[in-house]
């Protein structure tokens, strides 16, 4: 019997550990922001709040939550609720959530879906039911080409970020031999393809890395053997950090540039500050501290953290929906018309949507960030064209 006891106790200890640890990490899990004077309208957040990609989702949720809270503060007589749909970023889990979302007729609009993969399965469902979609983060260009009539994108897509990164490689790095890497993901490959086609003959080689790969010897060897002087990495930080470390440790001094998926502090800690120094990261997101108005301070106050990737974009997206509701557009159809015709200043940029749902190209801004002294700091806005 004793060994059974050990098993049971072991299981209990494991779970206790996990619950204890996790509750310590998560302080704000309140889901509904509705106060009194609720007149019933809702907007939804759709994206990953659990699983491996949760951090990005949490940034977005917090941005939207801040917008809703501020709105409710000013409009106590008609508060709006934020509904949270946690997809874990998985296309498999998205459709049932989208279906439950459309069944609640009080939900007029969605901030999200956060990723491009889940967007592909959730957006047709949402669009068919007329729910207004404003994604603050899904940057795959193909999303706007499906004729989804309620789709809007509140930031530039990969087709603008890719050429911007390529322009940086050409004009700032003045590179002559570029090596392009992607991780075969929807996002990474899309971005890398854009870079490749813009750079054209400057590209001397390319490679595909695997998800969760940690040993990049073969790729690094390839980069060395073609003597590349610039490396573009289209993918996420989990693979980029060890890659950058091994690239530098092989003695290569090729300049490193990557997309927004790599713009996280762990790039610096994982690769080592010395190895990461000078790495350039592009992002269709403006530096949080440069956002207009009091957003950065408000966000810090509400969440205890500085605004992170996509927080400001999601704040803007939520505000567009809320403005529409305030203006009396309280059906999905009316709200969609409102967003289609919307023209206004947000904290990130000036919002005006094209008929296919893309942001007006004039409003798209791509920023370059730079690793400097062990920190990711804003470098400059990249000029387009």
């Amino acid at each position: 019997m004793r060994q059974t006891l050990v098993r049971v106790v072991g299981g209990v200890v494991m779970s206790a550990l996990a619950f204890g640890g996790a509750t310590a990490c998560k302080s704000d899990s309140g889901s509904d922001s509705a106060a009194g004077g609720d007149c019933g309208y809702k907007i939804a957040f759709f994206g990953a709040l659990s699983g491996g990609n949760a951090q990005l989702g949490i940034n977005i949720r917090d941005g939207a939550k801040l917008a809703v809270d501020q709105y409710n503060e000013k409009n106590k007589d008609c508060a709006v609720t934020l509904v949270e749909k946690d997809s874990a970023g998985s296309p498999d889990q998205a459709p049932p959530l989208a279906q439950s979302l459309i069944q609640d007729t009080k939900i007029l609009g969605v901030v999200g879906p956060a990723f491009s993969g889940e967007s592909k399965v959730a957006d047709p469902i949402l669009s068919e039911a007329g729910v207004v979609i404003i994604t603050p983060s899904a940057t795959n260009p193909a999303l706007a080409t499906n004729g989804w009539k309620t789709f809007h994108r509140g930031l530039g897509n990969d087709a603008s970020q890719g050429p911007a990164a390529a322009a940086y490689i050409k004009n700032e790095f003045k590179a002559t031999k570029a090596f392009v890497i992607d991780d075969a993901s929807e996002y990474g490959k899309g971005l890398s393809d854009q870079v490749k086609s813009t750079l054209g003959s400057l590209v001397v080689g390319s490679a595909v890395v695997k998800e969760q790969q940690t040993d990049f010897s073969a790729v690094v060897q390839q980069i060395k053997s073609v003597q590349a002087d610039a490396v573009f990495f289209g993918g996420y930080v989990r693979e980029a950090a060890p890659f950058l470390k091994q690239l530098r440790e092989s003695g290569s001094q090729a300049k490193f540039i990557a997309g927004d998926g790599v713009k996280e502090e762990v790039l610096v800690t994982g690769a080592g500050a010395a190895n990461a120094e000078g790495a350039i990261l592009t992002c269709p997101c403006m530096p949080g501290e440069k956002a207009k108005g009091t957003f950065a301070a408000d966000y810090q106050k509400a969440t205890g953290r500085a605004p992170n990737t996509y927080s400001a974009e999601s704040f803007d997206a939520a505000n567009i929906l809320l403005n529409g509701i305030k203006a009396g557009n309280t059906t999905r159809e009316k709200l969609n018309d409102f967003v289609n015709k919307y023209e206004g200043e947000g904290v990130t940029t000036n919002f005006k949507f094209q008929p296919n749902g893309e942001l007006d190209p004039k409003s798209v801004q791509i920023w370059a960030y730079k690793v400097q002294g062990g920190k990711i700091v804003a470098d400059k806005e990249i000029e387009q064209g």
Binding site: Q3, T4, V6, R7, G10, G11, M14, S15, L17, A18, F19, G21, A22, C25, G51, G52, A54, Q55, A184, A207, V208, V209, K210, Q212, Q213, T214, D215, F216, S217, A218, V219, V220, Q221, Q222, S225, V237, R238, A241, P242, K245, E249, G251, V266, V268, T269, G270, A271, G272, A273, A274, N275, G374
Partner: protein, 316 residues
């Protein structure tokens, strides 16, 4: 297919492959020991390794060696590595022990079929990595850079760095020690006896339970050592790090002949090299496919792996 690239860089790819293979080999020992004695796949061994990778990070941080500190001098490096190995070995060994007690012992007493053990071990694996996921907020964690990597000597044009030497040499030293332990000591003889015939060994007065605990702990310690080398090499870890390394290490163990310690070494090194050459030849994305196809081909011709099974007869 890129023959000219592989041709030009054959030695470089082999050296880097050996480095990765040394880590596979150390992890593979855990699978091989448990399989050799119990004839079971310890599915949770990958998480034993994962726990080790985090231990190093935590211990170094606790010692005041932060992620942005400059690399320490030679004495500092040795000190940090020794401390990390002790801590990670202890943490992983303890995890191995917990896995044995929680996921294996009751079932062993009931003589359950091996499928049930597999499921129980999968449960332990899930519980462990999910716990770590919750504790780390599911974020990757950076590990301080230990070595200022530089080329030590050049082997026919392939540069060999201090990092590679550290990893390969310490892995080999570990393997030799373990081999001596199993083959020369009293406890090691007990392990071999139980592996050969548990019933007879029990009749001869070998404490089977203790032997089984021992192999879980030793496998854990080896995985802990591997995790330190991994941390030095890779520089980041996440809660899901074990799964892939675990599958690779298990493949290595099967390749060399599961249950056979020297087979684990051979399988690990071979897998590392084959993978790296395959990645050079067919493209990095086909690395795993190459590894598995090699495994199937080897098993077709040598159904018990390259060096054959059996921990008990490893000496013969």
């Amino acid at each position: 297919m890129n023959f000219s690239f592989v041709g030009d860089n054959f030695l470089s790819l082999t050296v880097t492959g050996l480095t990765q293979g040394a880590i596979y080999a150390l992890v593979a020992l855990g699978y091989t020991l448990v399989y050799g004695v119990l004839r079971l796949i310890n599915f949770a061994h990958s998480e034993v390794f994962m726990v080790g990778t985090f231990t190093t990070a935590v211990v170094w941080t606790a010692l005041g060696y932060g992620v942005n500190d400059p690399a320490p001098g030679a004495l500092g490096v040795v000190l940090l590595v020794v401390v990390a190995m002790l801590a990670a070995g202890a943490a992983s060994g303890a995890t191995g022990l917990v896995v044995e007690r929680v996921a294996y012992r009751t079932l062993r007493k009931r003589n359950a079929p091996s499928l049930i053990f597999l499921i129980s071990a999968i449960g332990a694996s899930v519980a462990l990595f999910e716990t770590m996921g919750a504790l780390t907020d599911r974020q990757p964690r950076g590990i301080p850079v230990l070595l200022k990597v530089k080329e030590v000597f050049s082997l026919f044009g392939a540069s060999v760095t201090n990092l590679q030497i550290v990893i390969i040499v310490s892995a080999l030293a570990m393997m030799v020690l373990l081999d001596l332990f199993i083959n020369k000591t009293r406890l090691g003889r007990g392990v071999r006896a139980v592996a050969q015939n548990p019933d007879v060994a029990a009749l001869m007065g070998v404490n089977k339970d203790r032997v089984i605990m021992l192999i879980f702990v030793i496998g854990g310690i080896m995985a802990g050592f591997a995790s330190v080398l991994y941390d030095i090499k890779v520089g980041t870890t996440t809660y899901t790090v074990g799964f892939l390394i675990g599958i690779k290490a298990f493949t290595a163990a099967v390749l060399g002949g599961i249950g056979n310690l020297r087979g684990a070494l051979l399988g690990g090194l071979l897998l590392g090299v084959v993978e790296n050459l395959g990645a050079g030849l067919f493209g990095n994305e086909w690395m795993d496919v190459v590894a598995f196809i090699v495994l199937v081909v080897v098993l077709l011709f040598r159904p018990n792996g390259l060096l054959g099974e059996s921990l008990g007869r490893a000496r013969a």
